[in-house]
Amino acid sequence: MGIIPGGLLMAERLIFHVDVNSAFLSWTAVYRVKVLGDTLDLRNVPSVIGGDRESRKGIVLAKSTPAKRFGIRTGEPLGTALEKCPSLIVAKADYGLYVDASRAFISILHDFSPDVEQCSIDEAWVDMTGTAQLYGSAMTAAGLIQRRMREELGFTVNVGISSNKLLAKMAGDLEKPDKIHTIFPEEIPKKMWPLPVGDLFLVGHATETKLKAMGIYTIGDLATADPALIQRRLHKPGITLWHFANGRCSDQICSIPRDNKGYGNSVTLPADIASRGEACQVLLSLCETVGMRMRRDGKKGRCVTVHLRTPDFRDISRQCQLESVTDVTKELYDVACALFDALWDQNTPLRQLGVQVTRISEDYGRQFSFFEQGYGARYDRMAKMDRAVDALREKYGESVIFRARFADQVDRQLAGGLSKERRTNVTKPV
């Protein structure tokens, strides 16, 4: 405890990270048992929540603890999972249910503290600073949260406790399910440093490979490494990771969702495509979705990225900086097509295409250029047209107006993103 002027005691920061165990699977299991009256609890048998296999989105979205023992991993194809465990029960995802469960989950957290930052559909940080008088020790408060989740909503959660968001998240991931763990700064060498470096928050597969090539295998190795060396190899993000490994994170709990850093949509196609015409049509539908989302949020972007995935799951991408920020679908589409032409060998079949716009700003001014081809005067008119189309779609439905190109497949004019029934704004507007 510190003392602030006036003689009042100032409590040290206390942050909880609350994470639903196997969220989608838990929620489906509880729904089946408690609402539908089934006797079989999916959490106690090898089971997974799977995507739609027919539209080639058949991947494992969540798995039960018994399924984990068969080596089944989140994100792997359902076919592979069934090979590992032929008796595996595959349940369909129910996004409406997950949204209800998520809202109830966040609502309970709000009973404990006004400062709740939801970081995904099933995870949130809670600022519990100064609540000792209300709930007792941190462990007691965490136990109370767990109990309320279990008794009222029917599922279990992990609670990580620390003095900042990063350490709370790391503590929450230490052991699952239904556990409470702490990693306070003085516990870092004992609890966090022996973990593999890949377990550190924000260290993905590519970064892990780079770190291992430098002889850094554990979080402790990274924490004690020379920051200059890390910066040379991993640049600025490397320094962030080095601070993370030392348990330093200055992020505050932010109850209001942060602005998007980028707007991107991708689509896995029902069948591979191998012609430019088809690919451009998909790119157009993606640009429609991305542009519409940006316009709805009143944002514009300067950097366009196109990414392609081949049937053997090889990802390639290319990006381009624009002269001026834009949210015009046609302009995004033209840039996306140019990037696509530079990227694609005109031969390899494509499984997935994606378009992303980054370097977002609210600056509405447009720098017109003498050398701009075609857009100069037409830009304002195209922007107006896009807004009119958005307004029509908002009022009368998405299929009320479409480009002639999509005349025979109106349902494909807005690719990517969530289907209508899944657009719920539970985390971020999608």
């Binding site: 729904y31 609402v35 009256g37 006797t39 989950f105």
Partner: protein
């Protein structure tokens, strides 16, 4: 074995203070007969919110097939649907 819940048609009383009380219901049996059941007593009511689905669970006594039965009837607030959740005895 999976236990299937049975949707029912319900006559209920909404009191002036917002209390909802089941009175009589009917359902289609496995042999496709319509069975009507009069509730003789509401033993207790429990409010549930599993996975965020707000519901009221009524434990009721009723005469069925010439015997007293203890039933759990559930009312889902959002969908306004009643189901026979299970027969305790």
């Amino acid at each position: 074995m999976e236990q299937k819940i049975c949707p029912v048609e319900m006559i209920s009383i909404c009191s002036t203070d917002g209390q909802l009380m089941p009175v009589r219901f009917r359902f289609e049996s496995e042999s496709h007969e319509i069975c009507t059941v009069q509730i003789s007593e509401v033993v207790c009511v429990k409010q549930t919110n599993y996975v965020g689905i707000e519901a009221l669970l009524y434990v009721c006594k009723a005469q069925m097939e010439h015997a007293e039965r203890l039933l759990e009837l559930k009312y889902t607030v959002r969908t306004h649907r009643w189901v026979l959740f299970r027969a305790v005895y």
